[in-house]
């Protein structure tokens, strides 16, 4: 293969990757193929998608269709070789076409603006003409002032019988589109860094327990170089409703046996330590609740509050009263049946936790009462003694999302760049204006010409304003002549 042929191949490859046609093709392909993954559930149990496919293609065809889909990577589509391949092509296209077009844009930005002949001005895309009864210099001053007031940096060219003002603004806005392209490339880089150097794991941590690793899956632990402990987990509810108001956990970080950080995390407010972020993701009940403790605040009427921790079946005494209590029952979600009036548990989650306490009075009289955590009034005994059901601790776990993503800074930078780039790209345009002022017998003849790369209607209005402002100013000065 000769040098020339090599060069030809390189050039045609370059042209192919720089072409708008490829960009349009890739945008169409990405948009249409992406739809598949929103219909077929991704990374799901085969049964789920088989059911969906039976509905679409019938029971007999479903397994075959499933196998074809699975071979095509539809079950984990966004990670399939061909989809990733299109994304790679998309970024190559983006980079090459930007490099290909950049020199031309750079020249457009840096070519100095030159004065034009009056005829050239009159044939600009946006043009205006006017005549004033004024001196050449008066007219020039006023146009200069008006342009300067709009923050234009004005250049002048003087000839025998005429002066030309010429100016441009927003030329660097032409770079905005490259900034947007760059930001997309940065997002891809950030995503790659995140995949290569970060992880997305989880950790279910029972109240009071600690762990020195998170998990990618039950069999794949990721060691952390510190210990994380959950002091407690709690769901808060809106008053008189089962709508959750907040999911909260108190998390402690322990390093070399010392507590280095403590925070109550909630949804939208995670804990970050050493680049690893712990998010409140979910919660649940432990299968064994034997280790659970009931925390009660006991306040005799007029006396001091003291806190006790009791197991199921545990007993306590209200200090100085001789009243004894024993925990005899527990419900995760107590309610009174609407029809029968009987008490029952309506959920296995801790929606409305309650304990039943068997009281024994000093005179031997016995009675049982329910105390509800969400309704402290239920704990006021005859005689004004208070028992507050603070928590049933140690039977729930907090579900944490554990993530490390060193690529996130690329994503943040890209987000800012993309925002700025798009704003400049659509709302700031490169505008050039020429104002030619020529003596014409006793008056002056004004020709304005202009061009813009975007938003032409707005620019036309700007030119109209320029002329009318200057005209007003010139006419205002006319009597002094």
């Amino acid at each position: 293969m000769g040098e020339k042929e090599k060069k030809d191949i390189f050039e045609s490859t370059w042209k192919f990757f720089a072409s708008v046609k490829l960009a349009i093709f890739l945008l169409i392909i990405l948009a249409t193929t992406s739809i598949v993954g929103t219909i077929v559930e991704q990374q799901a149990e085969p049964a789920k998608n088989l059911e969906l496919l039976s509905k679409l293609f019938g029971d007999t065809a479903a397994p075959t269709v499933y196998n074809i889909f699975a071979k095509l990577g539809f079950m984990d589509m966004y990670g399939s070789w061909w989809f990733v391949g299109f994304l790679v092509l998309f970024s190559i296209n983006l980079i090459i076409c930007s490099i290909d077009r950049f020199p031309k844009t750079w020249r457009l930005i840096n070519t100095p603006q030159r004065p034009l002949s009056e005829n050239a001005i009159k044939s600009m895309p946006v043009r205006k003409e006017a005549t004033f009864n004024a001196k050449l210099n008066t007219a020039k001053d006023e146009f200069l002032n008006t342009l300067k007031a709009s923050k234009y940096h004005v250049l002048e060219a003087t000839e025998d019988n005429s002066i030309q003002l010429y100016t441009q603004k927003g030329r660097y806005a032409r770079l905005a589109v490259y900034v947007v392209h760059l930001s997309i490339v940065l997002i891809f880089i950030g995503a790659l860094i995140g995949i290569r150097f970060g992880f997305k794991g989880y950790l279910n941590l029972p109240e009071g327990r600690s762990s020195d690793s998170a998990y990618l899956s039950p069999t794949e632990p990721i060691p952390l170089d510190f210990v994380i402990k959950c002091n407690w987990y709690d769901t808060k509810y809106y008053a008189d409703s089962d709508t959750p108001r907040e999911f909260q956990s108190e998390i402690v970080i322990i390093e070399n046996g010392k507590e280095v950080m403590k925070k109550v995390i909630e949804v939208n407010d995670p804990l970050v330590y050493k680049g690893i972020t712990f998010y409140q993701a979910n919660y649940g009940m432990l299968s064994s609740t034997a280790a659970g403790q009931f925390i009660l605040d006991i306040t005799p009427n007029g006396g001091q509050q003291n806190t006790v921790r009791l197991p199921y079946g545990g007993s306590f005494e209200i200090p100085g009263t001789g009243i004894k209590g024993t925990i005899v029952d527990f419900s995760t979600a107590l309610t009174r049946d609407r029809y029968t009036g009987e008490l029952k548990t309506y959920s296995e989650m801790m929606v409305n936790p309650a304990i039943a306490i068997n009281f024994e009075m000093p005179n031997g009289e016995k009675f049982t009462g329910w105390i509800l955590k969400r309704y402290p009034d239920t704990g006021i005994l005859p005689g004004g003694h208070k028992i507050k059901f603070v928590d049933n601790w140690g039977i729930e776990y907090t579900g944490l999302q554990v993530a490390k993503d060193p690529g996130i800074w690329f994503i943040y930078t890209a987000s800012i760049l993309m925002g700025l780039g798009l704003y400049i790209c659509f709302f700031i345009s490169h505008r050039k204006i020429w104002v030619n002022i020529a003596n014409d017998k006793k008056s002056v003849r004004i020709s304005i010409g202009g061009s813009t790369n975007r938003n032409r209607l707005t620019f036309e209005k700007e030119i109209d304003k320029l002329l009318s402002h200057a005209a007003k100013a010139i006419e205002g000065r006319a009597p002094q002549k």
Partner: protein, 368 residues
């Protein structure tokens, strides 16, 4: 007084305005046009009042159940953009707002007949879909400052796309010449489907008793026609709608003549389509995609999970990116780009409603 009365008045005003705008296209009488605009402005004022009232009510609701929350925080959490109902209302508000700006800027009323039906579609959908209208407590996932900005900017973007859809539709109606042209078939079928759904929802609405309307959980969407329990009604609905679409195809050429008599130039329609996308695209990219991703990252530690809502937003983004590139550097002009603008808005509708109704994902709570 409750804000819902004002919402109902504004919804009524918009639907009446839609009918008058269509009448204006036919009779081309200036007075009729002025009445249509006045009706729209009246509806807009009523709706703005209702939005403010709802915000105030929500504010007290939030502040009473979250006493530890500060004034600004309560104001942010109470913004009426918190569920499907409020977002649809805000979408209609933004759509009408942008439409009124264009009407005054371009001094042209004709576009009203293409934009108000989108508003009517959204308003009827609220009433027949069983969307909960009361102010609900905000679940933990939504308690973030991102909520306001993410939803606000996304829906302003969607509204701008809605306007571009109206203008692009008017554009292809104006430029197609014969019934056998592909573009003509495309727009006649599209308008046919669009009007069929609008009318079917109108029938749903009229067939609902007051009691059924109060029953919030059940969707009545197309229950009186295509999704009726009676097989006969379903068959009849299909036959009628196919006949209706066929009629639009057959007589649609007349619509072109109606439009031809107005001062709507193809340049103006093309310009409005582009301008709306030029406004919608940055708003949607920044507010919808970027802010959504940053919010997801701060709440779940994942900025992109390819869940259906995210993916459909990205599909929408691809379509509008395609529009911009095809138009500015690809040399596409006229019908082809107008069709892209229409496809873009269909993707928006799917992102917004289709995903909530048909598919599920992280945004499932948005359907409440």
């Amino acid at each position: 007084m409750s804000s819902s009365i004002f919402f109902d008045i504004s919804a009524g005003a918009y639907i009446v305005a839609m009918i008058i705008y269509v009448a204006f296209l036919v009779v081309k009488n200036r007075t009729v046009g002025i009445i249509a605009t006045t009706m729209t402005i009246f509806g807009f004022v009523m709706q703005s009042t209702a939005l403010v009232m709802r915000w105030v009510t929500s504010f007290h609701f939030w502040a009473s159940s979250n006493p530890e929350s500060g004034y600004i925080e309560s104001l942010l959490r109470a913004a009426p953009l918190r569920n499907l109902y409020e977002s649809l209302i805000f979408f209609v508000w933004s759509l009408i707002c942008i439409h009124l700006i264009i009407e005054f800027k371009y001094k042209n009323r004709s576009l009203g007949a293409f934009v108000t039906p989108i508003a009517a579609l959204a308003l009827l959908f609220i009433d027949v879909s069983g969307t909960a209208k009361e102010i609900q407590p905000l679940i933990p996932a939504l308690q973030s400052n991102w909520l306001l900005f993410h939803v606000l900017l996304s829906f302003l973007g969607y509204a701008a796309f809605g306007v571009s859809f109206g203008a692009a539709t008017a554009y292809i109606v104006t430029v197609t010449e014969s019934k056998t042209e592909k573009t003509y078939i495309f727009w006649s079928i599209m308008i046919g489907i669009f009007l069929t759904i609008l009318i079917a929802m109108g029938i749903d609405f009229l067939s609902l008793s007051v009691a059924e309307r109060a029953e919030l959980i059940r969707s009545h969407f197309l229950k009186a026609t295509f999704r009726s329990e009676s097989g006969g009604v379903v068959t009849a609905s299909w036959i009628v709608s196919i006949a209706f679409t066929f009629a639009i195809w057959n007589f649609g050429i007349g619509l072109k003549k109606v439009l031809a008599g107005l001062s709507l130039t193809t340049e103006m329609l093309d310009d409005i389509t582009y301008k709306s996308i030029a406004i919608g695209f940055p708003l949607f990219t920044i507010g919808g995609l970027i802010m959504g991703a940053i919010w997801a990252n701060s709440a779940w530690g994942k900025y992109w999970t390819w869940d259906p809502k995210e993916t459909w937003s990205l599909i929408t983004w691809f379509v509008y990116a395609l529009y911009l590139h095809a138009r500015f550097v690809g040399g596409w002009r006229g019908k082809r780009v107008a069709i892209l603008a229409i496809v873009g808005f269909i993707a928006v509708i799917f992102t917004y409603l289709g995903v909530n109704l048909v598919l599920s994902g992280l945004h499932a709570y948005g359907s409440g």
